[in-house]
């Protein structure tokens, strides 16, 4: 958190300030949140609770985890619409654990994002170049 730099008076123009000391590489959230493992879990079957997540990550992550052949079952739910919590259930075969499957799912999604970024950038640059050519002609 940025240190206090000037008076508490809100109704006042702000002053100059030096940037906070710690570098924030994360653009979304300031503080780290932890994954909670819900009670009743075993190595191969566990429910995880993600605070502050919804269908956006829930469904995408469910897809990525289901793509793993070592996973027997994966599903997600938002237990109550007015709480920003997302529960993810993973059951795996004996060859792996639920936590490993979750980690692999996150890796899969990150790899996927890289590929989409690459392809999108090339497709856009090609399209822009083609448009520019057409404008000249």
């Amino acid at each position: 958190m940025p240190a206090s730099v000037h008076s508490e008076e809100q109704d006042q123009s702000m002053l100059d300030a030096s940037a906070p000391q710690e570098e924030q590489t994360d653009i979304l959230e300031l503080d780290e949140k932890r994954i909670v493992v819900l009670p009743g879990s075993s190595d191969t079957a566990a429910s995880f609770q993600f605070e502050g997540e919804g269908h956006t990550l829930g469904n995408a992550l469910r897809y990525a985890i289901m793509k793993n052949p070592e996973v027997e079952f994966c599903g997600y739910t938002i237990p109550h619409p007015s709480e920003t919590k997302m529960n993810l259930r993973i059951q795996t075969y004996e060859t792996t654990t639920a936590v490993e499957a979750l980690e692999k799912g996150l890796d899969t999604l990150m790899d996927l994002c890289d590929v989409v970024t690459d392809k999108f950038t090339t497709a856009r640059d090609d399209f822009n170049a083609a448009q520019a050519d057409r404008m000249e002609a």
Binding site: E8, M14, D16, L28, F50, H55, N59, A60, M66, V116
Partner: protein, 373 residues
Amino acid sequence: MAPLVPSQEELDRRRIVDINPETVSNIPSTDFPGHWPGESHEWSLEKFKNDLKIDFHRNERFEASFSLIGVDASIANAFRRILMAEVPSIAIEYVFVHNNTSVIQDEVLAQRLGLIPLKGSVEGINWMRWFKKPTDDDPNGSNPADYNTIVLRLDVECTKNPNADPEEDDPRKLYKNAHVYAKDITFHPVGRQEQFFAGDDAIQPVNPDILVAKLRPGQSIEMELHCIKGIGADHAKFSPVATATYRLLPDIKILRPIIGDDAKKFAKCFPSGVIGLEKVTREEAKQKDSGYEGHEGELKAVVVDPFKDTVSRECLRHEEFQGKVKLGRVRDHFIFNIESVGQFESDTLFLESVKVLKLKCARWKRGLTDLMR
């Protein structure tokens, strides 16, 4: 055992979501390990790389349209949701009213100001940090500083125009500043903001002609506006897109020939350009049981461009086309349409949404390492 590879025909069938007269069927994707006996469907980055295709249709500052082919609906939907609710942008959040003698109330005016889309140096906006609001746990929150708050001012006073024609009845000519527009908002850089938001990159409204308030001589507005960075999930004013939508590519299959007047009627069931009319050739007319024999030279309906279709299902309502046509949508062909409000280029917004999804994963993965120990 080597994994079973289904026939091309079967793969094509799985790729289409069926559209029936009253229902939609074959909806869920089935490309998961264990769904089809003997088939693999395991995640493969190589395969994904080969199958993913992106085609641009248009790319302008305020609107981009492209096809994202080869991803699952859950992924495409994640990008769409992130675009609307989780890509950060700046908007007016705090309004300090020093004076407001206009007829519009402070709170109504503040609400209107918040919704004005702002633009400025993208680099500067990326450099900006979050402004933390006071909460129960943290009653102080952050203090405004150059890296989290942008100061704008709106200082207008309405006066009589001494040079106006006495017969004049247009208040804009009769008075000065009778209408307050978004362009009257002025930017007051603080600290390092001067480096980032200089010249054309200054913070300014995207649309200068938004009417904010109306004044009469003697009335004035004097306020200080603080902009912060936020996300659409918190308030729609922070959403960087006007709309971000996708639709699935329509698919039209003509199963049995549609010839003559029927063909013309069939073409009319679709938007123009979707169905074309072609003459039945001699070779086709010669083929037995093709449905074309004896119809040489007549017109037949052919699918020209399903992209333009709206899938109105009109053709399914007519008796004469029963069983001759099959409508569907391609499951993994998403036609995205992204309209930017102006702060960012519409194409960079999509890249931004991919980045946000990746960051989300990275953050949770860091949280996971505690769990492993």
